[in-house]
């Protein structure tokens, strides 16, 4: 029988991750202490076991903070990047988890209403790439230095951001009883967002 002949020679000498089987001895308190000493202005607290929390994070510090998390504290994995519309402001919520210490940190960053942009962390974790694209897609929050900030779930050329709170859903199910029970004419899907195309988002 012929050899399997892989078309590319696989680099075999990669890092061995079998140490992840047993949990590390580092406690959450030590991680918090380490973060406190490095970033004194950031408030990190322990919610429950293995769940760290960090509210109202300043957005300028994000990449620095995340680099420290990844390189010094072994947070290897981005679980999720979520956008949110708080009406008074925008918010981006990061959930970054560590396989080694078996804990997860939640970072909530508020962005001002008029400037929904934050630095990307997809250079640090490739897994954050599409999450950030999706956040842009749904909320119009731009991520600076993102390699490819395009629509991912909605079609190209969509001119609205559907998850914003001021986005009107089609009122298909509402029946107009005063008009003999007929359905109203569906309103066109128009976003009230006017910022698209002016260079900001």
């Amino acid at each position: 029988m012929a050899d399997p002949t892989p078309t590319i020679v696989a680099p075999k000498g990669d890092k061995d991750y079998s140490y992840l089987v047993s949990p590390s001895t580092v406690q959450e308190q030590e991680i918090i202490a380490s973060l406190k000493s490095k970033f004194p202005e950031v408030e990190v607290k322990l919610k429950q076991k293995g769940r760290l929390e960090c509210v109202k994070f300043p957005r300028e510090k994000l990449v620095e903070f995340c680099t420290y998390l990844r390189d010094s504290l072994d947070f290897e994995h981005v679980t999720c990047v979520a956008g949110n519309d708080l009406k008074r402001a925008w918010e981006v919520i990061y959930h970054i988890s560590s396989y080694k210490h078996r804990c997860m940190i939640q970072i909530r960053t508020e962005l001002p209403r008029e400037d929904p942009s934050v630095d990307t962390i997809s250079q640090l974790w490739g897994g954050a790439d599409w999450h950030e694209r999706e956040t842009y897609d749904m909320y119009g929050i731009t991520f600076n230095n993102h390699p490819k900030l395009e629509r991912v779930l909605t079609p190209e050329g969509t001119d609205f951001f559907p998850f914003r709170k001021d986005f009107k859903l089609l009122d298909h199910w509402k029946i107009d009883w005063e008009n003999k029970g007929k359905r109203p004419k569906p309103e066109p899907m128009v976003s009230t967002d006017t910022r698209f195309g002016d260079g900001n988002g």
């Binding site: 029988m1 012929a2 050899d3 399997p4 002949t5 078309t7």
Partner: protein, 367 residues
Amino acid sequence: MSLPSWEAWTCVWGSRIGDTLNYLYSIPHSIATAILSFLHINLPQLNYLLTWVIASIILLVVVMVNVIILIYVERKELGRFMDRRGPFVVGPAGFFQNFADAFKFLIKEMILPENADGLGFNSTLVIVVASSMLIMAVVPQAPDFYYTNTDLGLLLAFAIFAIEPFAVVIAGWASNNKYSLLGGFRSTAQMMSYEVPMLITVLSVVVLAGTFNFTQIVNYQASHVWFVVPLIIGFIVFLISIVAEIERIPFDTPDAEAELVHGWMTEYAGIKFALFQLTSYVRSFAGAAIMVLIFLGGWTGPILPPILWFYIKVYAVFTLFVWMRASLPRVRIDQVLNLGWRSLLPLSLVNMLIAAFLKIYGGVFHL
């Protein structure tokens, strides 16, 4: 230019088919004679022409009926292999399912894709179907049932077998579809690399039997031993090559439905697609028939009439194909080519050496 004389027709046609023992000659001949005598026409040339046409039609009908049974057998056997029942609704035990499918294909629209090359697209169909049907013309099915029995029958059969890849690559190009194009390339590459070991294996049979004539090869096996015994390596090489040649799983890379939607057949719709499918079974039938003739003793066998033995063996070999299809995944195209050039070619050469050795010192083994 005048028509050839009576004797000229006889030497082309009659010398081979002219023996009254061949039913595929004698029956059409008597029909033609009856028709012409009814019409009071006494033209021997017309008689032979009519005999030829009727014999062709009979052969076509025989092959088609066999192919329909073959498809039914495959469906039923595949059903058994896969722990299901296979077709069982249309007709007795689902036998007429094929006809139902054929009618469904017939009522479909025949689509010519936009920007496709109409001439290449349609002529391919004719070439593929005609060349595949032609194979059975040179393959005898019994000592008393054959269309032609030429001295170079074996070589002719493989020459006709090798026409299809040209048509396939034209089809791939003319369809104006990237999947078709890739499928056409794959088909050609695969055919080319498997022709070589297959023909070398066939050559070893020819060396032992000393002839290219199917009937004489079968007679040689009947009087000595089936070639599958001394040339077991060649048999295996030939089995793998013929499966690659007729493009069935595990070697159905040209129309691998998972990666290329349906390969070079992607753009063909309706009855065209049905004809291609039918053709692939004709080729399976022909491949199994050739394998039976040159390795498994042809129509020889006890008690039962020869033609029945021939069909029993052909269906047994076809069952082997179905078994392979049921149990093996598809091989990747570069692996297919590697297998052909790196493994089968050396093995076929070894087989050739064995054949030559047996030819020289064969008296010891009664060969």
